[in-house]
Amino acid sequence: MGVMRRVSTIFRAKANKALDKMEDPRETLDYSYQTQLELLQKVRRGVADVATSRKRVELQMNQVQQQTDKLDRQARDALAAGREDLAREALTRKSGVQGQVNDLRAQYESLQGEEEKLTAASQRLQAKVDAFRVKKETIKATYTAAEATTRINEVFTGISEEMGDVGLAIQRAEDKTEQMKARAGAIDELMASGALSDALGGPPPDDIQAELDRMGAGHGVDAELAKMKDELSGGGEAPRQIAGGGPVSDAVPGNANTSFPVQQPHTGEGQ
């Protein structure tokens, strides 16, 4: 017997087993309907969970992309400052981080696919549950317990198969979401501790920036020093102004007073 028929046989056997448990087949319909409503809620939660997980991966993708951009900028700055070694280090790390971006993108697409499948499954189930509710009431109103058996059997088997299918889809999506949560958590921790590049085989991420900052600061100090030296050695106007301070101007009124001694000989001559 082929795979297709074996899977179908197993689904039917499951449904039959559940049917056999009920004394009145019509009870089965009500019981099944409750299960369907529960499953419908579960599949909707599943869609929401996958969406949350997808958004989180999206956020991480942006963060890691920013890290890539930063390393790229640092490489340029380092190269402009003539530090090829530092630029090389930044680019090496960038390629490591780029690997993370690609990995996250693959995860993102896989989650997106899962979300679409689950959304479609949720819509199919909703349509079937609505149809089932109508059928259930018709069957209960029209047939006696004995008569209803065949009809119920068919409807019940049909809906059970759908529920089994949806149940598996939910399970698969849950597994994927769990895996993703674990990975996302690990990357969050790495980013928070600044150890993302540690994991990628390099020292903490900010040392390149620290080196560039040091170099930047160094340039500033050098420039200022050079300017000061120039000012001091050039013999410009500033030193002269400092020399021409208060004491010299004090001598000026003193000079004005010399008119008295000049006058004194004059009076002496008159005596």
């Binding site: 479609a120 079937k128 088997t157």
Partner: protein, 92 residues
């Protein structure tokens, strides 16, 4: 005849289509028995493509049991094993 592609929904197929699907199903089963994942992937894709091209989608609100059930796109041998051993099924 009604078939289900897991995760996709149900299709109605003309009776004549069964022969073609059965032939492809033989390849699928042999791949499962040999645990040959590569051959399994090829056989499954061929089976699904044939089913989709031969069949017509059932309305969403149809409630009918399927005569045949196919594993969905991207299924692995392990998942099919679970289906066949009853492990992965949620009781109706």
């Amino acid at each position: 005849m009604i078939i289900r592609i897991m995760g996709e929904g149900q299709l109605r197929l003309p009776e004549g289509a069964l022969e073609e699907l059965n032939r492809l199903d033989v390849d699928l089963e042999s791949a499962v028995d040999k645990q040959d994942e590569a051959a399994f992937g090829v056989a499954l894709r061929a089976l699904l493509e044939a089913a989709r091209s031969l069949g017509e989608a059932l309305p969403q609100d149809a409630i009918e049991p399927s005569d045949l059930i196919l594993p969905g796109d991207g299924a692995t041998i392990e998942e099919v094993h679970e289906l066949l051993t009853d492990g992965g099924l949620i009781p109706g």
